[in-house]
Subunit: 631 residues, 2 copies
């Protein structure tokens, strides 16, 4: 077994139901959907991010500190984090070594003797503000991303000098934090350093990092942060996390805080804190999560919003929030082994996260709405009509790069019992003397074929997740159909395996009409179309000319067909029976019941949500109104 590791590696003594596999245990095939994304990331997204860091001055900001540039400081005050995230992505990816070497040297040179490293607050004009405005400064958030780059360096390239350099820089900053905040009640306005410090402890075994992470988790919620204009809930400073029962405030901050809390909980054996994280996760899933897995209903403060407040058109659903949700679910899956976390990883990955990135891999959404209206003003960054190549706050693209570069690490786990496959895509999983090959065109196809390629002579269990959306699972082993006994969400196949043993898992994917809880006012009288893990949507490009997308309604009693395409950007589309409505002339408000306005029927194509906005900019909707019942 290799020493290489991926993100989130609990120590052997941690609370942990499942163990992550070594970083090179899973090899995704670029012919599969996930492997395709990972390959695109290495070929397009990460190089694009590195390019943009040059264009937008992020690297120059650091060169100002070293005296090698004299331009104005450029971008957001936490612009360094985009560098750190791209660096982390480069380590996981094992590519872009020129960038890695350059940045490693630059960071080392820019770091202050005491370990401080933040090009905004090292600016002579801002230096006196260091550590004085934690509610706003993102200094520890920046440190956190630097530390995560250091962790990635250590786990992915332990023998590489540049990696060692980055780890050293990260440790020096972490040591400064320990020295400065080890006895403090203060906390940063933007969580992130908690999980980073816990991970650094895992890499180094240096316990003060873990203790500081635990301290920061506990420090939050005591009102020590200067009030923001959004109130203390914005950064979860309104009540101690342990007393919280519901997610609230800025979504990414909440997700990152919970990730740190889980890391601390499992490493310190703090089951109570782990319970808190599970409870809050449940609260998010019960009333504050879009059908895409996106979270965050409000643009104003990038916040969760009230329970059941889930407007499709004004979904904020930040890409980073979806990434945070995925990373949190992975931590909870490792800690508890509960399938619901893997189910959510699948949903948010295939919809909320995947939808953020253009087919080119070089354009991105920051917010991920579930509806774009006719007449939408998509002229600025907040809610653009199409993906943009970069943002003034460019947190999402390099965050995508680091996730996609490490995506293989989230596919499977191991335990004393054997291997667990949580996500399906073509590739190889090999660990602990066992190896299997996955052949599948999932989620376009229903079948996943798993072939044992390496095995010990002893019995072991191959566990295959059966998604919660699947009501009809079939199994065959070596050509003979077998009983598919699903226990706690997994098919656990325990036996002595032989090389060449072939398991075919069929997860039936009828198109489902889904409705939301009746308290979700924003989608009342509408359904979403879902096939397998994929949410579908209607896009203006597929609607007959002259028809306004908003005037289509779905006839739920007409048959709906699935179309498979060998070529083109949309491998599987749905053929949706709709009716068009004449626009009533009663104005904006009129007497109920409204006049019947249902017009001719038609069939329009629905495409996977994650592939929207890859043609001409235009209206889109996930939730489709139901045609009025005939009177």
């Amino acid at each position: 077994m290799s020493d290489l590791q991926g993100p989130v590696v609990p120590t052997p003594d941690a609370l942990s139901a499942l163990r992550p596999l070594p970083a090179d245990a899973v090899q995704l095939s670029a012919t599969g959907l996930l492997g395709g994304w990972q390959a695109r990331n290495a070929e397009a997204t990460l190089p694009h991010c590195i390019d943009q860091l040059g264009v937008h001055g992020n690297l120059t900001n650091l060169r100002r500190v070293t005296g090698d540039a004299d331009a104005e400081f450029a971008g957001m005050w936490f612009a360094d984090t985009d560098v750190h995230k791209a660096l982390e992505a480069a380590f996981w990816s094992g590519t872009a070594s020129g960038f890695v070497d350059e940045v490693a040297a630059l960071l080392e040179k820019a770091q202050d003797p005491d370990g401080y490293l933040d090009s905004f607050y090292q600016d002579p004009a801002h230096r006196d503000r260091q550590w004085t405005e934690l509610h706003y400064s993102h200094e520890m958030y920046t440190a956190g991303h630097l530390i995560q780059a250091g962790v990635a360096a250590a786990r992915s390239a332990p023998d590489d000098p540049s990696a060692q350099q980055v780890l050293s820089v990260a440790r020096r900053f972490a040591d400064l934090l320990v020295q400065r905040y080890g006895q403090s009640n203060e906390v940063d306005g933007h969580p992130e350093v908690e999980t980073a410090l816990a991970e650094l402890y895992r890499v180094t075994g240096h316990r003060p990092y873990l203790e500081l992470a635990a301290r920061f988790v506990g420090n939050r919620g005591h009102g020590t942060l200067d009030d923001s204009r959004f109130g203390p809930r914005y950064f979860q400073d309104h009540e101690p996390l342990r007393e919280s029962t519901e997610v609230t405030g800025h979504v990414v901050r909440m997700q990152y805080l919970l990730a740190g809390a889980v890391d601390v909980a499992v490493e310190t054996g703090d089951r109570e804190l782990l319970d808190v994280a599970e409870r809050l996760w449940d609260s998010a899933l019960e009333s504050r999560t879009y059908i895409t897995g996106g979270q965050g209903s409000r643009h104003r403060d990038e916040a969760f919003g009230d329970p059941y407040e889930l407007p499709p058109d004004r979904a904020y659903a930040e890409t980073c929030a979806a990434i945070g949700s995925f990373q949190l679910a992975w931590r909870l899956l490792l800690a508890t082994g509960k399938v619901k976390y893997a189910d959510e990883m699948e949903r948010v990955l295939h919809n909320g996260i995947a939808g953020s990135t253009a087919l080119s891999g070089k354009e991105f959404f920051y917010s991920n709405p579930l509806q774009l209206r006719t007449g939408h003003d998509g002229s600025h960054e907040d809610a653009p009509s199409q993906r943009l190549s970069w943002y003034s706050c460019a947190c999402c693209p390099p965050n995508l790069a680091r996730l996609m570069a490490s995506l293989h690490a989230y596919l499977a786990t191991g335990d004393a019992d054997g291997l667990q496959l949580h996500l399906y895509s073509a590739g190889v999983v090999a660990s602990g003397g066992h190896a299997v090959q996955m052949e599948t065109n999932y989620p376009w196809d229903e079948q996943v074929t798993v072939t044992v390629s390496e095995t010990s002579g002893s019995p072991w269990a191959l566990s295959l997740r059966v998604p919660a959306w699947c009501n009809d699972v079939r199994l065959s082993i070596n050509g003979a159909s077998a009983r598919a006994h699903v226990e706690a969400g997994y098919l656990r196949l325990h036996r002595v395996w032989h090389p060449g043993d072939r398991i075919v898992l069929t997860l039936a994917m009828p198109t489902r009409l889904v409705s939301a809880h009746p308290r979700v006012d924003a989608t009342r009288g509408a359904v979403a179309l879902v096939r397998g893990p994929l949410v579908y949507c209607l896009e203006q490009a597929d609607v007959p000319a002259g028809v306004v997308l908003e005037d289509l309604s779905l006839d739920p009693h007409s048959p709906l067909a699935v179309a498979f395409h060998r070529a083109g950007p949309f491998p599987v589309t749905l053929q949706v029976p709709v009716r068009t409505s004449a626009v009533p002339d009663t104005g904006l408000y009129g007497a109920w019941p409204p006049p019947a306005t249902t017009g001719p029927s038609a069939v329009v194509t629905a495409i996977p949500y994650f592939l929207w906005a890859n043609r001409a900019a235009g209206p889109m909707r996930v939730w489709i109104p139901l045609s009025p019942s005939p009177r």
Copy 2:
């Protein structure tokens, strides 16, 4: 006829279908709803505002300029405007003379020799920024409110020395604007000065003020304003107003700009510009106005939002936007005589505006949502659970004060033909040798009794508006029923009138179930209850204990009763047949059709929307889901 005048008095040569009456032509009775509001304003709201100006440092800011205070500058950089608006309110109200005298002297003393007056930019620390950041500074917006105070001074108390002092101060600032910007292409980020300058022209006859107003209307839309983070549409700088076909951006800015455009159009005889204003007003009413008359669907940038984007829960619907809508509609009514503008004045006044103020007259909403959810985080100013006594940006309360103080001026108009009554409330209307008394408990009662108390011997027309919501209007004159011939929205009764002639107008008010245009996704499958001009709502206080408001649905086929109350805060309530729903255990998303969950029936009370949040803070909703049809 008196010389006293109210807001918006076009010159005799202006394009004007109707003429405002002198300011003292209408006397509202405090026993009527509108007169009660006006009395409450004089007794509670205006004194409260004056008090808060002291508490929050607005007056001290000006005393810093005169050297009479040395506190830190307090509040928003445009804090002076709250002083100016309260001063304007005091003039219209004819009360608070101590405040008037004090502020008049203070403003005169604080004014720079060249006429400049803005306590933020007169601060030595900011003085070098004067006129350098027009996209942000609100300097002309501040000047505009000062000028409007001067206009109110001149019209309401022409012989009062303090009033003369305020008019002089306002003119000096206006003269500075003419001198500085008379040949400029620049424009302020926040419209307001346009209408103020046009009104000052009307008061003074000094044409350069009108010319500058016209210039500013034309200057906007050429991209001269530094981009805000919300893009140029935010301040309507993306295209010239004359080329615009739809309202967009920050609602208050749009409303104030249109008010200025109408003033300029009617004074310069610019029918094309008037058409533009009408077209944009139509676009707002067609797809971007709440059923309360509120406008603004987005908290982030206080903006209109996309067409048909009208979420009840996240309605921004700023109080100032509703006031702006009312003031714009009045201008368009005067210019065109079209009843739709008076209809909208009635709607927004009785719902969107009235709902902003607590029964006490001392607490206010800034945003006016149409739904407040169970679990709402109402802990901060943006979307509080209850009205607050003041806001860090306190534009709304003094804006309410100035509107309510001048409310009588918006009731009726005159023309060569006679009198037109647009709004109904108990009071007297006397102008041009004609006088009528209105006796009514409208909108609680359906009947308005108009008695002629003074008349010439010649025939003249008394015109009574018949609201668009009314399908059943009855008329009697001196006890005999008469044919109610409604023409273009008015009953025009033309004859020789005699003192004591008694007209009884009955506007039938059956409770109406109203649904929104099918493109309004946010209220699909729900209805609003409307009686007369009043929108109703359900409030948690009226729901049986243990029942969650969100779980109620309305059975549209069960009878709905109206209850009249002699005492208590709610003169007329509705008794609404509802069903309770058990919460499905299918989670947030489940297969369509959802399981039937309709529970027992009940009858709950609905109260007028404008009276919500006068009891314990709790959930509220205007749009009530319809019970599922029995299968």
